[in-house]
């Protein structure tokens, strides 16, 4: 029950305190009662048992992915030496 999954916000339903999210093609409406941040379409959120728990920081995620790619490339370069 514990794994929270990253999903993309695709629709807002302010009257119901809800948002619709897309998790790799699967769409569902979830509660946004726990979010204090403003939410826009295209944001990424973590979903846990029907609730959006928080926003995912896009800049931070991109920074991590960039760093990992550099690490992998460095290893590849070392292996070719």
């Amino acid at each position: 029950m514990c794994l929270s999954v990253p999903s993309e916000v695709v629709a807002l339903h302010p009257d119901e305190q809800a948002i619709t999210v897309d998790t790799l093609g699967v769409r569902r409406k979830v509660s946004r009662h726990l979010l204090s941040d403003e939410i826009h379409i295209g944001d990424y959120v973590l979903i846990h048992i029907g609730f959006a728990m928080n926003k995912i920081d896009k800049e931070d995620a991109l920074e991590s992915l960039k760093l990992y790619r550099e690490i992998a490339q460095k290893l590849e370069a070392e292996n070719h030496d």
């Binding site: 029950m1 514990c2 794994l3 929270s4 990253p6 999903s7 993309e8 897309d22 998790t23 790799l24 979830v30 509660s31 009662h33 726990l34 979010l35 204090s36 990424y44 973590l46 846990h48 048992i49 029907g50 609730f51 728990m53 928080n54 995912i56 920081d57 896009k58 931070d60 995620a61 991109l62 991590s64 992915l65 960039k66 990992y68 790619r69 550099e70 690490i71 992998a72 490339q73 460095k74 290893l75 590849e76």
Partner: protein
């Protein structure tokens, strides 16, 4: 910086990158090479407890064990809410479900976990009205549609899930739904860490902290434990690259003798966590004096209960005289307790894979899909990264 081969995530983030980018086999291998080099400097073996069953599954599913040097070991901790639920609490849920005019609601695998006389699933097969929920707020409609019945939400989970119960309670109050009640079993991670470390035989000297708990509670909840037990803690995401990076940091921190808390999963976890959620939990819950954990026994101040102000929604109070209270331990052959305490590995258990399988579980470590035994049963033998 060279342009990425895929070209798809150099300037913007796609949902796919949040999955695939953090599962990349080349990155996993590169991190494994760095862990191998760094681990050569360790003066003693590193025993990392992954508190949460989600991390156990990542380690097993992606074959990470085979990539880690011999002097870095994993110990599987008590962070699975279904695994740590003592049988007597399940017996209470079954007693509630068997009452006339009660509908019992719960989440996840809880319905399959045996109490002392069967599971909630068996109670349902025998005629009790037990319903699994995927979203706690669905309880509102069920209570509204069944005004002549008492609907009891058997609430389980760590810090991650408690705010969802709080929202449900707030909405029940706002909608003036008198027939929605709660049996609260919300537990807390830091006291469980203290209980693990209080065990004289424990070898644990580092922790991978579950990210989703800290999404709500913030990284701050581990500060005291890290100092008190002289153990580094890295709050980690659940993708394999997240876990590998966290292992690397733990090895580095150990080599520098730093007992600090770091956040690997900084794309979602802050020091303070979700303050809206914390305020909600504080409004409706207070700490229990003690709660008995499966495998770990009673741990002081390790769980929550409803505040007195909301006693009218507390099923433990309302039905108190009709709920069984006898404490019940696990089957003697089952080593789930030792596994949750970090004293045994699933493979050490004599009944693992023989008398105890996911189809015929003896203990909750096997019945829960997040349990350590279940992860070992499903993925043991996985040696390669996809």
């Amino acid at each position: 910086m060279t342009e990425p081969a895929t070209g798809e995530m150099n300037s913007s983030l796609k949902l796919k990158s949040l999955y695939e980018g953090f599962r990349d086999a080349d990155t996993i291998r590169a991190l494994a090479a760095r862990i191998g080099n760094e681990a050569k400097k360790l003066s003693a073996p590193l025993y990392i407890m992954e508190v949460c069953g989600g991390h156990t599954h990542t380690i097993m599913k992606y074959g990470l064990l085979g990539l880690i040097p011999d002097n870095v070991k994993f110990i599987h901790g008590p962070g699975c809410p279904v695994c740590v639920m003592p049988k007597e609490r399940i017996d209470q849920a079954i007693a509630l479900a068997n009452m006339d005019d009660v509908i019992l609601l719960t989440l996840g695998d809880m319905i399959r976990v045996p109490g002392s006389k069967g599971s909630l699933a068996q109670a349902r097969a025998n005629g009790a009205d037990v319903r699994p929920l995927y979203d706690p707020l669905d309880a509102l409609a069920i209570a509204k549609d069944n005004p002549n019945k008492t609907v009891v939400f058997f609430a389980i989970g760590f810090e991650t899930s408690t705010p969802m119960t709080a929202v449900l309670l707030r909405e029940a109050e706002r909608a003036a739904l008198p027939n929605l009640m709660f049996h609260i079993n919300h537990v807390l991670v830091p006291p469980a860490i203290d209980a693990v470390m209080a065990e004289p035989a424990t070898k644990v000297n580092a922790f991978i902290g579950p990210a989703h708990v800290s999404v709500i509670s913030g990284a701050k909840i581990y500060r005291r434990a890290a100092e008190a037990h002289h153990t580094p803690v890295v709050v980690s995401g659940f993708e394999p690259v997240d876990v590998m990076e966290s292992i690397l940091r733990l090895v580095e921190l150990k080599n520098h003798a730093e007992s600090v808390v770091e956040v690997q999963y900084s794309r979602a976890v802050s020091e303070q966590g979700n303050l809206t959620a914390q305020a909600l939990v504080d409004e409706y819950f207070e700490v229990r004096d003690s709660f008995r954990w499966r495998g770990l026994g009673p741990i002081p101040q390790s769980a929550l209960k409803l505040r007195d102000k909301y006693a009218h929604r507390d099923a433990e109070i309302h039905f108190g005289d009709r709920l069984p209270v006898q404490e019940i331990d696990d089957h003697k052959a089952c080593q789930c307790g030792d596994i949750l305490r970090g004293l045994a590995n699933p493979m050490d258990c004599k009944v693992f894979g023989r008398g105890c399988t996911p189809q015929t579980p003896l203990g909750s470590c096997m019945v829960s899909s997040e349990g350590a035994c279940n992860a070992y049963y499903r993925y043991h033998g996985v040696q390669h990264v996809d």
